[in-house]
Assembly symmetry: C2
């Protein structure tokens, strides 16, 4: 039951929303922006414009108006799914029907005039590890004899990350300092990370949460997904190798994580839902609490992913960003988002509206689909050669990493995620 907001024939009177825009009228993502000295407010992206939803809230469903006057999306995410569906329906009508143009147009701001902010107050951030090919590749480097641990195919492995250091696309990343110990060294040393890396992930914003002590049944989990963004989980591999046992990554990850500013809503992603690829022969079936026929049938997503790099030298040579890898959710994800949400809450842990889940690095099975330099360079052993002759084992100061994504399905307009990008600054 795909509604008319997904009709590929529907077009916006905003010209730039046509063609291959990330933000056609079928997308209508949610974000928080500021323009011209005004405070942060909620908007949607349409073509090359940001539409101020607070300013037009009088034209929008009354059930969402109070939440739209907030400077973050938490309150809107906490509303029942049908409220966000009504908002989407109305925005689609307003932006496609020429008769509303005069009312709407004054509240469209060229995206270049806008500053984007974090879309929500992120209470807690959890990072999962659903990319089985990444888990295998990294496992081989950290534990050559034991790459995929026995729990991996039973437990959607996850851990808590740092919420305070999540930043929106565009905020530079200062190269972190910390402890490392080379395997052959007698003692650890301290200094800037020499193995700074990116990780290609998707972020999931939680819609309404669950009460402490209650859990979310897998059949209900889709209702708890507000939408998705891109997530770069920057990682200092040298710190990680030395610190991660026995309690997991800490300073290797918590210096910063970057997300794309637009939340691609669960409603916008509906046409791109698809069957979860069959588990390889011999893999165990998930335990009953993680099993659901509907999730099996349509709980996966078809999203193409790409990583690009733009180095200081490329910039001085006026070269465009170069693609490092292309992957996809279908190639990478061993668990669905619904399985992550249900697992996270099965012990009674309370998720809150605006919480962020990371999927983990979404590497496909092929080297060209690797979602990190660690994988592309075989743990730093085989440098990647760029088109201009530069080589990279890990990231250099001045490097900018750009993540992009596009949801695709036959018979539908594809929709983009915008960019998740940030540049590495030297250690202080």
């Amino acid at each position: 039951m795909i509604d008319q907001t997904h009709d590929p024939k529907r077009q916006s009177w905003v010209d730039s929303a046509g063609g291959h825009s990330d933000f056609p009228i079928q997308n209508l993502p949610l974000g928080v922006f500021s323009v011209g000295g005004e405070g942060p407010r909620i908007g949607t992206a349409i073509g090359d414009y940001v539409l101020d939803l607070k300013a037009i809230s009088g034209l929008l469903p009354t059930e969402v108006a109070p939440a739209l006057s907030q400077p973050a999306l938490n309150e809107l995410f906490a509303l029942p799914t049908k409220a966000r569906k009504a908002l989407r329906q109305r925005l689609s009508d307003l932006l496609s029907d020429d008769r509303h143009r005069a009312d709407i147009e004054p509240h469209l701001h060229p995206v270049g005039d806008c500053r984007m902010h974090l879309p929500a107050r992120i209470g807690d951030y959890t990072d999962f590890y659903v990319g089985i090919h990444h888990a295998m590749a990294v496992g081989k480097l950290f534990r050559p004899d034991n790459p995929l641990l026995p729990n991996y195919k039973h437990v959607p492995i996850g851990y808590h990350g740092r919420a305070s250091s999540i930043r929106e696309s565009g905020v530079p990343v200062v190269r972190p300092k910390g402890q490392t110990k080379a395997p052959e060294a007698d003692a650890p040393s301290f200094g800037p990370s020499q193995r700074l890396d990116y990780e290609l992930e998707l972020g999931v914003f939680i819609a309404r949460g669950n009460a402490l002590g209650q859990s979310i049944d897998i059949a209900d989990a889709p209702d708890h997904i507000a939408g998705l963004c891109l997530l770069n989980d920057w990682s200092a591999r040298d710190f990680q190798a030395w610190e991660y046992q026995p309690l997991g990554p800490f300073l290797a990850k918590n210096f910063q994580s970057t997300i794309s500013p637009w939340v691609i809503t669960a409603e916008a992603l509906a046409p791109f839902r698809t069957a979860q690829p069959a588990r390889p022969e011999g893999d165990p079936a998930p335990l009953p609490y993680l099993s659901n026929p509907a999730d099996q049938a349509s709980g996966a997503l078809n999203i193409a992913l790409e990583v690009q790099i733009l180095t200081e030298q490329m910039r001085s040579q006026n070269l465009p960003p170069q693609t490092l890898s292309r992957s996809s959710t279908l190639a990478a994800m061993y668990w669905t988002i619904a399985q992550l949400i249900t697992h996270h809450s099965v012990n009674g842990c309370n998720l809150m509206a605006g919480d962020l889940l990371g999927t983990g690095t979404l590497s496909g099975p092929e080297k060209a689909q690797a979602g990190s330099l660690l994988e592309l360079s075989d743990g730093g052993k085989s440098p990647v050669t760029l088109d201009n002759g530069e080589t990279r084992r890990f990231l250099a100061d001045g490097d900018e990493v750009i993540l992009t994504a596009r949801a695709e399905a036959e018979g539908f307009n594809s929709i983009g995620f915008g960019q998740c990008r940030a540049q590495i600054l030297p250690a202080v």
Copy 2:
């Protein structure tokens, strides 16, 4: 330079603040309470009373008045240390000098009439692992051949915990459900935890934070400590053993953590600071960023800790809680709080006012000093026998765990932390 707020001869005109009260006039902890249908507000504990600091803010230093009108301590914690010192000085004067009694007394509420709340909005919660005897004991159970990992004496090991599920003392804990796999089983199973445990920890509330990309020098770290509380880091040992590799504990811990409601301020704890015990012969010196003569000389704390249990059967027999173990910060902590703060921020990770750090389980070297049932029962192999004949390998439904603490130093009035207690409810 101990100021008169610590003078053991100073007494309050509130009678119940004398004797062995946890809250003599030398304590003056900060907390958030509500009484009689009013909203949460900031108070201090004196004897058996809670003093409403919002109501008397006109008598308090002007620099703290706006922060005292908030329903949480974050704004007060974010102020410079000298503002909290001025507040303490003034409160000590008001509550010791009889002339202020008429102004103050109407705003004293019997503690039994008050409901305590979480003292701050906890943005991020990090749990450390500074109890070396706990790390050894648990390491032996999880990794018999490799109890203390090579990084332990170099890196103050920590990981991110769940902020949303932290609750104040008194909120019951629902026994969590989750995946477990017995070593001999072919496949994991799902159900209520059979190895539910407590962990005796201290919590540290962060005062002012640091900017992203900046770090906190160890010489400055004490200025970032707002105060301490008790923390019970409830743990499902069966979930933990199965899930914790390679990214650390997750559902084994995040179903709930309990803290005592009063923040024992860094200022109140000043007389109980003492030299960090010398590292055992042969242990490596900390790296320079974690080394500081002042921290060495006075960065440790002398706090006595105790765990009690009150079972359903004891309650029906009208028995009082029974002590399970007694420990102390001096016996347990391998790292100082300043070392934790500096390590946490050394990579540029931004701490925020109101963030909570856990120390990790504070077990001493002796069995009678163990801070968890896992240790007391040798991983469940040797049940603990209670005075009434009951036995415990792990916690049973109905059990209530009570943590208490007292800072002690010769020549000073000791001060208490109040209680951190909660009862286990059956799985839903």
